[in-house]
């Protein structure tokens, strides 16, 4: 089962691997000796993987340091160094309580269309598999039929849904949700929220209010805010993370749609610049296609040779 998942992750990341690795191998083979041109090519390869300019510069700076330290002049070693540097970059502290040892509340936020509702379904499935009781809160009262979408999921998954009418105050839904979760001694309460562009100030304040409501009525329940990011997103992902983090405080990130041809590059930029941990990866359309993020595994699958 576990092996099956790794191979699935490998397959879903193989596109990533091709994009990042094929040109890297090429560059290594072509240049042989480390030179400014080689670095320039590396820079381009990383940027093409959505790593972004500043993080690419950072990675290269560290790589150059390492190369100097080890007194290497062949490009062959670079792959191993880069791997270590990336793992190091991606290793940041993960918030405690994520396994719901104690009662847990998850506030799921993000811009429109990143896959919040689907991720919530997958999270529910995960916690259910761990033997935890779950409750969903339909906090997206804005988008047409968003409540229905979550209702269908809650039926499929056999968990309770707390909902109001469309257009209702999401703060009120959140209040009912947290109260119900505490009264029923639910292990994990998951709050859906409406997708909102991080540039809409009033919608970001609405989110602050929702979080405040949950916090003030948490009854000691641990609250974690998870930001959902679409892996297809380019450099704007950074702006999204930054703004959501400033507004409500983000504890970790769920990266979705890794089953496409999207690369993992954006992940490096996010952890490097903002130090926020990546917690989950969405790797498919099925309800169990959610994977806890592991830096070493992730980078290994990035760097694994084609087989």
């Amino acid at each position: 089962m576990a092996g099956g998942f790794v191979s699935r992750l490998k397959t879903s990341l193989s596109k990533t691997r091709q994009k990042l690795l094929a040109p890297l191998e090429e560059a290594v083979l072509f240049h042989k000796k480390i030179s400014p041109e080689f670095y320039e090519e590396l820079e381009e390869i990383l940027i093409m993987a959505d790593v972004g300019y500043p993080t690419t510069a950072l990675l290269l700076e560290r790589l150059k340091e390492r190369v100097k330290q080890e007194k290497v002049d062949q490009t062959g070693k670079v792959k191993a160094y880069l791997r270590e540097i990336m793992i190091d970059l991606l290793t940041v502290p993960v918030p405690t309580g994520l396994e719901a040892e104690e009662p847990l509340a998850l506030l799921v936020v993000g811009v429109n269309g990143v896959g919040k509702t689907t991720s919530i379904a997958k999270l529910t499935e995960y916690y259910k598999q761990q033997g935890k009781s779950c409750l969903l809160v339909a906090g997206d009262t804005f988008r047409a039929a968003a409540i229905d979408q979550l209702a269908i999921w809650s039926e499929r998954l056999g968990v309770t849904l707390i909902r109001h009418q469309a257009g209702a105050d999401p703060g009120a839904v959140a209040f009912d949700g947290i109260t119900a979760a505490n009264a029923r001694k639910i292990d994990v309460a998951i709050f859906d929220t409406a997708g909102r562009l991080h540039t809409k100030v009033n919608l970001m304040s609405e989110l602050q209010k929702i979080k405040r409501v949950v916090n003030q009525n948490s009854g000691g329940r641990k609250l974690l805010t998870l930001l959902v990011l679409d892996a297809t997103t380019g450099q704007n992902a950074l702006s999204q993370v930054r703004t959501f983090h400033e507004a409500v405080g983000v504890d970790g990130i769920i990266l979705t749609k890794l089953d496409g041809t999207a690369r993992g590059g954006v992940v490096l930029a996010i952890t490097a610049e903002l130090g926020l941990p990546l917690l989950w990866l969405g790797v498919g359309e099925k309800v169990d296609d959610l994977k806890r993020f592991d830096p070493e595994e992730f980078v290994t699958s990035l760097f694994a040779s084609e087989d």
């Binding site: 300019y53 979408q149 269908i152 496409g260």
Partner: protein
């Protein structure tokens, strides 16, 4: 933080390029290296960036540098022109079928905003006097059909959801329904899918076969990264796209994906989504997006303004006048007009390289007071403008009445004028042959 450091770096490079005459290969290459980074930061695909900058280089080397520009600015100017050309010079309209009902098919990845866009497009067409039928052919995502129904209710447009679980059948039936109910355009919403999902792509091809749409529109999230090219190519190869709709452009994305897609598919961008409200779907303006992608709005505006405004000849005359102490209120007015042509002053100054916000503090550049000053000067006789010394108390009162401003303001203007004359004389001595100075600094 990231963006500003990049734009600073760019400006620095542009300043360094100082050679005169024709653009040398070295100038162009240095400036293009910065342009390349700017485009990559905007998520323009790397290969697209490369072929684009190669084209620009071929065009730019050897070009005469306009007098008012630095070589770096000249390169950016050419880049912008080429970028706009690439995006399509003007807005392209949606196709209209020879006979009704004709079909628009909307396709794209999950979460791009297809359903919302179908609703918005329906609203837009309705406003143009068309009678659209919305069709929910997304049978996979939970409550997708319901979502479209809700939008249809809000827009007072009929929505066809069908009874079958087969999107091809739904599409075919919807066209028949449109015929029966005299709807003239059919908008089909399809399920989000990955371009590498063979089965679902085949389904789209089958829908295309069944209803022969006049438009197959790819809905793309404007925040998409380097992958946009792969996605668009995937859809284009299997379906033959006719156009793009760019969504979520109301975010702070630079939107480079649009350029990549345009380059690899050749399809025009027809509409852009600018917000969550149902009327926030707009016609696409290539030049605006070109500036946004390049992310050098500041440099571009400055280039435009430098070209359009203050002419070198006039500036020379002005310097002479200042040095000979012949600067009159007419010149003062003329100067103000020149400056006003360049746009809001505080913005203008903010655009000057090296200008920091703190330099602008204490300088008041109020557009309204400009108008007042103009009115006051225009209420003076030509003689008074040439020779302000003759303006006595009764003349001041007349001018105040004529311009509708209080006498105090007339006094203040005359004082200011005397002061700036003195100041300019000093500056003129300092900057002989240099740049023309603005009278208000």
């Amino acid at each position: 933080m990231v963006l500003s450091s990049l734009s600073e770096k760019l400006q620095e490079t542009l300043r360094r390029l100082r050679s005169k005459g024709k653009l040398s290969e070295k100038d162009v290459e240095e400036a293009l290296r910065q342009v390349k980074l700017a485009l990559l930061e905007a998520d323009v695909n790397f290969r697209v960036v490369k072929s684009f900058t190669d084209r620009v280089k071929a065009r730019a080397v050897g070009q005469e540098v306009l007098n008012s520009l630095t070589p770096g600015q000249m390169v950016v100017k050419i880049v912008h022109q080429e970028l706009t050309k690439l995006m399509g010079e003007q807005a392209e309209k949606l196709a209209v079928g020879d006979r009704t009902p004709y079909v628009y098919l909307l396709v794209g990845l999950q979460g791009a905003g297809k359903t919302t866009t179908v609703g918005k497009l329906g609203g837009l067409l309705k406003k143009q006097g068309r009678r659209p039928l919305l069709v929910a052919a997304d049978v996979y995502r939970p409550a997708a059909a319901k979502q479209l129904q809700v939008l249809g209710e809000q827009l007072e447009l009929p929505v066809y959801t069908g009874t079958e679980a087969d999107p091809v059948a739904i599409a075919r039936q919807a066209v028949a329904r449109a015929e029966q109910t005299q709807r003239d355009v059919v908008l089909i919403d399809t399920a989000g899918r990955l371009h590498i999902d063979e089965e679902l792509m085949a389904e789209l091809a089958a829908i295309k076969q069944a209803v022969s749409p006049v438009e197959i529109l790819l809905v793309v999230d404007a925040m998409t990264g380097q992958d946009a090219v792969t996605v668009a190519q995937g859809f284009h190869e299997k379906l033959g796209l006719t156009g793009l709709i760019l969504t979520k452009l109301d975010s702070d994305t630079r939107g480079g994906a649009a350029l990549s897609i345009r380059e690899v598919t050749g399809c025009p961008i027809k509409l852009v989504g600018m917000g969550e409200k149902l009327d926030e779907l707009e016609v696409f303006h290539p030049d605006r997006l070109a500036s946004r992608i390049l992310g050098m709005g500041d440099v571009l505006t400055l280039i435009e303004k430098a070209e359009a405004s203050i002419q070198a000849e006039q500036a020379k005359n002005l310097m002479q006048k200042i040095q000979k102490d012949q600067f009159t209120l007419d010149d003062f007015l003329e100067q103000m007009r020149q400056v006003q042509k360049m746009g809001p002053l505080d913005q203008l100054f903010a655009m000057l390289p090296g200008m920091k916000p703190k330099h602008l503090q204490g300088l008041e550049f109020d557009e309204k007071s400009f108008k007042h000053l103009t009115a006051i000067i225009q209420s003076m006789t030509p003689e008074e403008r040439r020779n302000p010394q003759i303006i006595n108390a009764s003349r001041r009162k007349r001018i105040a009445r004529g311009s509708g401003r209080p006498v105090q303001e007339v006094n203040r203007l005359l004082n200011q004028f005397e002061q700036s004359k003195k100041m300019m004389k000093q500056l003129g001595k300092l900057g002989k042959g240099g740049l023309p100075r603005l009278p208000f600094m």
